[in-house]
Symmetry: C2
Subunit: 359 residues, 2 copies
Amino acid sequence: MNPTSLAPSELAYVPFVSVDNMMKNVSAIGVETVMKGIADYIEEDFLRWESFDKKPRIPAHAPQGVIELMPTSDGKTFGFKYVNGHPDNIKDGRQTVTGFGVLSDLSTGYPLLFTEMTILTALRTAANSALAAKYLAPKSSKTMAIIGNGAQSDFQCLAFKTMLGITEIRAYDIDPDASVRLARNLATSGLNVTICKTAEDAIEGAQIITTVTADKKCATILTDNMVGPGVHINAVGGDCPGKTELHKDILLRSDIFVEFPDQTHIEGEFQQLPRDHPVTELWQVYAGQAAGRTSEHQITLFDSVGFAIEDFSALRYVRDMLPKTGYFEKLDLLADPDDPRDLFGMVLRAEAGRNGEAA
Amino acid sequence: MNPTSLAPSELAYVPFVSVDNMMKNVSAIGVETVMKGIADYIEEDFLRWESFDKKPRIPAHAPQGVIELMPTSDGKTFGFKYVNGHPDNIKDGRQTVTGFGVLSDLSTGYPLLFTEMTILTALRTAANSALAAKYLAPKSSKTMAIIGNGAQSDFQCLAFKTMLGITEIRAYDIDPDASVRLARNLATSGLNVTICKTAEDAIEGAQIITTVTADKKCATILTDNMVGPGVHINAVGGDCPGKTELHKDILLRSDIFVEFPDQTHIEGEFQQLPRDHPVTELWQVYAGQAAGRTSEHQITLFDSVGFAIEDFSALRYVRDMLPKTGYFEKLDLLADPDDPRDLFGMVLRAEAGRNGEAA
């Protein structure tokens, strides 16, 4: 038997983007360009909102955290993300949130892409925030307060720089080292970073307030008296039941914009209000079916929780990017015998082939 | 910067079993031993049935087929399988059913194993059938009819040989070439294979009748008059809405055993009967809480559809097998910066490292 006949056909391979290759892709294209690109794909997908199968996340809970599967489909392509949330992971050097995802051709069921999504989720979350802010933030916003200076904060700052023209960052974290880390990472970005001693200090003069803290509890990062008229609040950190960042009175003074109300009411700041409190769906704003910012004095609030369609958009972006960069591997994931019915024969032939090689 | 410091830590890696490595593992251990091992793990997990989170499959449909996610958890470990079913795939050389799966530590959310599951599903399905038959088939069964001689049939024959002592196979398929293929693959297995011209011919003298056809429609592979008293029917092929293999009258004469009644009533032969028709859950038989076979004349029917816990058991088996065989790769799937909060810094350092290397 000819050993070369044992090599899988092209059908067996699935493009795989490792963490290392994701970093190479991002470096090759540029982190700001990637986020702008993902934002375009998200906007495109939100504009065809009705064509998506919108399911709630499927969670598995443990005392330490949760693993969730987030599937969606537009009828032609299927995507899902695996993501975990384990706040205590940081103590033994693990990420609190990691993920990976798959994009598949629904007409054959075959995966088109398997990729790490820890870095990709950070990119898409920031891209998504900046996209919403394009419609909601005051025109000519220059200054953003960022409260919570963890893993997501760098990406938020850069997305708002590139997509909204933000030039000044006012950073605050209960851990001053986190703010120093953020300032160091942004040192060559063109952004001016001011490290602030309090949250009140950070929001001074900011047109945009981004909250992205990580505590898994109901916290009050912003109290009502801290928020003046006309600002846009980009509330990213409150993203699971029992985890919020804003005082309820801020919500009552704001016009609230959400991805998918049923999910946001479970996971977002919106969990503090009754389900029938009026909120606006972002896709309707993008489609021109609902108003975004309508006045200078209005407080707009994007209650971000992260939705499966955004991951779908990010997966589509990566799939389309790979032929240009070439930074991926091929994973031998799909059994591909010559005769699709002869799975066992494939096992037998592989065995015979190896014995032949060894002899 | 020292390039070696850019290498991911052990925490970043997930063991990955490709199709090629799955074949090497199966060859190294022996296909019959693997199936016996998986059956033991399934039995173990069915005996702690109550500790599992039992969810319905999560499907995404297209005209050509379906992609399903099948998650489950025992509160400590999480597993899911991705599986597709596309009957027309065979026309362009693809598998009708392919799959892959993940096993994770629910206390950290980190994956422990990522593996192909096309071959593994074939192994676990046959192991699961033989396990049920150990409790349900007539004692000293020697002859099995197998109707439908596609990809799953070889595995079924070998599992029943090793776990029940079957020595005679009577094979029938509407495509005679499929039976020839099966006979060829089993030529050195120790099983005597008789290729039969009709289904009636195949079941002559058989104590066990396995139906494992692939048509996605309600078919009648077995009619009522074909089935005599005392046999065990292992009905594997009927496994989605609108796809059945047996005439309803056979069901009415049989004692029906199922994995999870709510799922079987949607996907199995059971869909032909009202939901309140009595069926017995296999885990109760294994636990001694319900009777299996009680008389010589009884017709027992295992209405197999495939349940998430069986995949969980198979994933556990593979995870425990890998340290012995060593046939796996390490996949750089999880972002693992030195400081878990500094995801962006990792991207920056990787870039600096590469530039340093290039200089």
